[in-house]
Symmetry: C2
Subunit: 210 residues, 2 copies
């Protein structure tokens, strides 16, 4: 029954959702339009309409989209109607930044476990979570049916840890380690590397020689 939707379309839905939630807080009006979203997001209104049309008819000619309804539908499409538990591996500076980032709960996720290998960190608190010994990670994943992990570990251990997470049942991994990880086809992986992002922009920068 599911049509195959291009990954690039799926990739834009969270951005639409984030902006709609923002709109719903600012607005007294119940509706928005693909033009208004386009203006706010720097994506063309035709693209927005086409992306959404993969999933049904959400708007009406003339009145546009009902914001609350579209938020609900995007949450349903993205499987965000219930909260997902997330484990975090790595309690360094980056782990701290993630654990203290307020947006998770509001946007469908809750970091429920943090693991590290460093004896100096184990037992310390990050926000409301106590850092646990890495040895317990498989049990935590399996007992709680956790499917999502965030990896904030040194690259020397990243592949080994990835293999361990997947073997224990993790299906989605967000990694901050700047190496390409090998995962089986049934596992989703998403990379966050500030250097890749910076290098994608320097292409467009004038050099002194130009």
């Amino acid at each position: 029954m599911t049509k195959l939707i291009p990954a690039i379309v799926i990739g834009r839905l969270p951005i639409y959702l984030r902006e709609l939630v923002r709109l719903s807080k600012e607005n007294t009006r119940p509706n928005t339009s693909s033009q208004e979203l386009a203006h706010r997001l720097g994506i063309s209104s035709a693209q927005i309409r086409k992306d959404l049309s993969h999933f049904g008819e959400f708007g009406k000619q003339g009145t546009g989209y009902n914001i609350a309804y579209l938020i609900e539908q995007l949450q349903r499409i993205l499987h965000l109607t219930e909260q997902w538990e997330v484990i975090l591996v790595g309690a360094g500076y980056l782990g701290h930044a993630l654990a203290h980032y307020g947006g998770f709960q509001r946007r469908g996720f809750r970091i429920t476990h943090v693991f590290d290998t460093d004896p100096a960190l184990i037992g310390t608190e990050m926000g409301e979570i106590v850092v646990q010994k890495i040895e317990g990670i498989e049990a935590a994943i399996q007992e709680n049916g956790i499917k999502i992990a965030i990896l904030a570990v040194p690259r020397s251990v990243a592949q080994k840890m990835t293999d361990r997470l997947i073997k224990a049942g993790i299906l989605s991994i967000l990694t901050y380690t700047p190496i390409q990880l090998k995962v089986p086809d049934h596992v989703q992986i998403s990379y966050s590397d500030p250097l890749v992002q910076l290098q994608q922009m320097t292409y467009y920068l004038p050099r002194d020689a130009d």
Copy 2:
């Protein structure tokens, strides 16, 4: 003289570069192939050959790509032959994680200035850099000709800070604040939002109801 290359192609070049550098460290062989890169990156070899062909002929049928030469060419294409100075705005946990991240220098960038508004943070050290008062940010950008900024600030101040950076001469911004920022056409912006990345993956996760 410059052809218009799709942004998605430019976006993959830093990933090729990162893997080639890794290969050059592992390998005693001087050459690689689009097949080897494809296997390591999970991108098809046809895609890799097509992406690179936008910029010239880098490989030879039969012998493949010379790794050192291709690294050099990608660095040239991405304007990474000299090191770029970067200013970091925000000295919280995320700012610390970025300032302590070892990869910058090796990959063409150096964080030379860190700014914050919190009096408790000003004067403290992050790695080898002293956190400075935000008031000095325009002078630092202009006196050093800095073109690149990383924004790790609360979202309530993100747009105002962005406007200030651009007015002072910044052309590329990597932002960790989870809102869409308005920038003029001549400025590049790149977003890093863990929630968007997680939400892009939950689409593919089975729900309990499935």
